[in-house]
């Protein structure tokens, strides 16, 4: 039985028998019964006290999604059994403290072992493992000081549900402006049913003085499987946003379909870093998360810059192409990626750089590491529109194979419709050599550490793009992800 079905069943038995004659919206209920129809969407929207326009938007998306039945993407090099969308549960209330572990003693020791290896402080471990809030140190006051400081600068950083209530004009203006509700199968599903996510607005000329991190909201909301994130950097502003966490996240929901939209206006810069380490399943790939994400940023203004950095080590299936639409003249898009697959994991990831403005530049550095019987594909598109005079792209795609049973593939698409553009693509595939391993081991470094060292070296260009906060943990994560891949 899949985790999804299990979750569905659990909810079912908890919620009692299913309604026979369609679903009657019951706003008092904690959870929606499994299944997806208009009522489910009304229920979610009512639960969140949303304005009419947003409900209408969701319903439009849902209607579109129903027509997309045949549009579930099949072009990626991914294999998984059909997903039962009607078997899933689309809204469940956050766990109450009573259901949470009271202390780390009640948490899965395997999980704790990994926290230990990553060097995560005890207090953060408690947060990550979802220990009941009042048992956790005063994270609330930390978050409060943090919010006060941001508020002084006029920076808005809150959950998207809160933003819908407090800043509806911003949300209405930008939501779906980069990833329209009809964009693709998974984004459309997300638009219909998203439950929460983050919202950031940085006003004109403000440089956000700290890394904005989902860490701070970790126990504020159960972000759930359909996350929606919207980041807006107004003219001349700068923000660095960290998403995810190196610690393994367990989740009862097998399917994750998030949408992230970034908007950078004139001279603004957004740096978006992700570390994704969701449960990859067991050695045979059973029970792992399916991660179908749509991430896209628009450099709307001149000289805007959007930089994606990702370290993808978790999930059974990763389908993810953080992209940049370079509309403003001289705008810059960057994509730095590390994707590690082990055992039965499959990753099909890459980026799209759409050059529309003059002298737009993009840079792609992708490092794929495959071990075990896993499969890793880089899939990238560089498109130069006719108006993109003088556009430049440089793509570097490196794959590293560990062992003989894994696969790495590079699928670059280049469409240039302006003769002045220059697009460069370099790709390499290598293996960890016996010579390198012997050299390390002769120096007393055991095989597993040697592999970690060599792989970290291989990823260095990308690792150094990560904010300090993430970089050290990410290096350890690389090591942990490859455990058991040699010998």
């Amino acid at each position: 039985m899949s985790a999804q079905q299990e979750a569905a069943q659990a909810v079912e038995s908890y919620a009692g028998e299913r309604y026979k004659y369609g679903f009657v919206t019951d706003v008092e209920a904690d959870s929606a019964p499994p299944g997806l129809d208009q009522d489910t969407i009304r229920f979610i929207s009512a639960k969140k006290g949303e304005p009419e326009w947003l409900l209408a938007w969701r319903l439009k998306a849902f209607e579109r999604w129903l027509q997309m039945e045949d549009e579930e993407p099949t072009w990626a090099k991914l294999h998984y059994p059909p997903i039962d969308y009607q078997g899933a549960c689309y809204y469940s209330a956050p766990k109450s403290d009573a259901d949470r572990p009271k202390s780390l003693d009640e948490v899965d020791p395997e999980l704790l072992k990994t926290y230990e290896k990553l060097g995560i402080p005890l207090q953060e471990q408690e947060m990550l493992a979802g220990v009941a809030v009042d048992a956790v140190f005063d994270s609330v006051s930390v978050a409060t000081t943090f919010k006060d400081k941001l508020a002084e600068l006029g920076i808005i950083f809150c959950s998207i549900s809160e933003a819908v209530k407090e800043h509806p004009e911003l949300v209405q203006r930008y939501l779906g402006s980069v990833v329209p509700y009809s964009d693709n199968f998974f984004a459309t599903l997300n638009s219909a049913v998203f439950t929460d996510g983050s919202f950031v607005y940085v006003p004109k000329g403000v440089r956000c003085p700290m890394e904005l991190s989902t860490y701070f909201r970790i126990n504020a909301a159960n972000t759930g499987q359909f996350e929606r994130t919207l980041v807006i950097a107004d003219e001349g502003s700068y923000v660095s946003y960290l998403e995810g966490c190196t610690a393994p996240m367990r989740d009862e929901n097998q399917l994750h379909a998030a949408v992230v939209e970034l908007i950078a206006l004139d001279d603004a810069e957004i740096k978006y870093s992700t570390v994704q380490n969701w449960y990859p399943g067991d050695a045979e790939g059973r029970g792992g998360i399916y991660n179908f994400v749509t991430k896209r940023g628009a450099c709307r203004g001149a000289n805007a810059k959007i930089s994606w950095t990702q370290v993808e080590t978790g999930s059974a299936i990763t389908w993810k192409y953080p992209s940049c639409i370079l509309q403003g003249d001289n705008s810059v898009g960057e994509f730095y990626s590390i994707a590690i697959t082990n055992n039965r994991q499959q990753a099909d990831t890459g980026t799209k750089m759409i050059h529309m403005g003059r002298n737009t530049k993009s840079r792609i550095v992708s490092k794929g590491i495959a071990a075990g019987r896993s499969d890793s594909t880089y899939r990238g598109l560089v498109r130069i529109q006719p108006r993109a005079e003088g556009a430049r792209n440089h793509t570097q795609c490196d794959s590293l194979l560990i062992g003989a049973t894994c696969g790495a593939h590079t699928v670059p698409y280049i469409e240039s419709r302006n003769p002045t553009a220059r697009v460069e693509h370099e790709a390499t595939t290598s293996k960890i050599s016996e010579d390198q391993l012997f050299y390390c081991r002769q120096r007393g470094i055991d095989e597993e550490d040697a592999v970690a060292l060599i792989v970290n070296g291989f990823c260095r260009e990308v690792l150094q793009e990560l904010p300090m906060e993430f970089a050290v943990e990410a290096q350890k994560l690389v090591a942990i992800s490859l455990e058991g891949s040699v010998g």
Binding site: S433, E434, D435, Q436, F438, Y439, C440, R441, Q442, R443, G444, I445, D446, E447, D449, L453, I454, N456, G457, F458, C459, R460, E461
Partner: protein
């Protein structure tokens, strides 16, 4: 400290070492010479435990232990160090990072506290100055784009950091300019110690002018065919391997 008896080893099914005997005591420096392809590097690999080299007969005892029963890293951690004839490049891994990982693996093995970044920097500063290695090299990826001489000095630096009990230096003098040769020689001499043994594989007397060996061995076709004092190297220098009645590689 090291006792090799009747060692036979093959690579790819091809016999390379054919009944080699060698005895090295603590405090001694032995030079091993011999024509190209005679099996010198193979001997060093078999001692270090490299995969692909199969011991078909004989034994190696190291400090009373059966060396052949130990894994590569166990040998390294118990003090066996090999300076490679061809040091390996590891892209993206900073030299200092690599050295720190190695030194800390050894410290951990001995139950000592691992060095933090600051402590390690201090240690490495002392050691590299003596070998004329500049700081810039420490920040570059290990051996990547290093000149031949830089790679060899880098091996010496690792020996200095790891302070092995048994060091095998495989042609560490090859490719060095005259000044670098002196630096490396004084590095080796500086590490001579009563509790340490060194086996120096070389083709040239010029190294042995600086590092005077206790014993010199000539390896030919996978066997030690002559052993003697430091004068044996001088004799070789004068008359070549042919003068010993051996086939030189040029004649082979």
């Amino acid at each position: 400290m090291l006792t090799i008896e009747n060692l036979h080893a093959t690579a790819d099914g091809k016999p390379i070492l054919n009944g080699l005997d060698l005895q090295v005591n603590a405090g001694e420096v032995h030079a091993v010479m011999g024509p190209n392809g005679s099996g010198k590097s193979t001997l060093s690999y078999v001692i270090a435990g490299r995969e692909g080299y199969e011991v078909t007969q004989g034994s190696i005892a190291y400090q009373g232990q059966d060396l052949l029963a130990m894994s590569v890293e166990e040998r390294a951690l118990s003090g066996v160090f090999l300076a490679f004839q061809y040091p390996v490049e590891i892209p993206g891994v900073g030299s200092a990072t690599f050295f720190k990982t190695a030194v800390n693996a050894a410290r951990k093995h001995r139950g000592e506290k691992e060095y933090d970044a600051m402590e390690f920097l201090k240690l490495i500063r002392e050691k590299r100055a003596a070998l004329g290695i500049d700081d810039g090299m420490m920040r570059r990826a290990l051996n990547v784009g290093f000149s031949g001489g830089e790679k060899k000095r880098n091996e010496m630096l690792q020996m200095a950091l790891l302070e092995p009990t048994l060091a095998i230096l495989d042609e560490t003098d090859s490719g060095l300019d005259i000044d670098a040769l002196k630096v490396v020689a004084s590095g080796i001499n500086g590490m001579r110690a009563p509790e340490r043994a060194m086996v120096v594989i070389t083709h040239y007397q010029r190294l042995l002018d600086h590092v005077v060996p206790d014993k010199v061995h000539v390896l030919s076709s996978g066997r030690i065919v002559r052993s003697g004092g430091s004068e044996l190297a001088l004799e070789l220098e004068r008359s070549g391997y042919a003068g010993l009645g051996l086939e030189s590689s040029a004649a082979a």
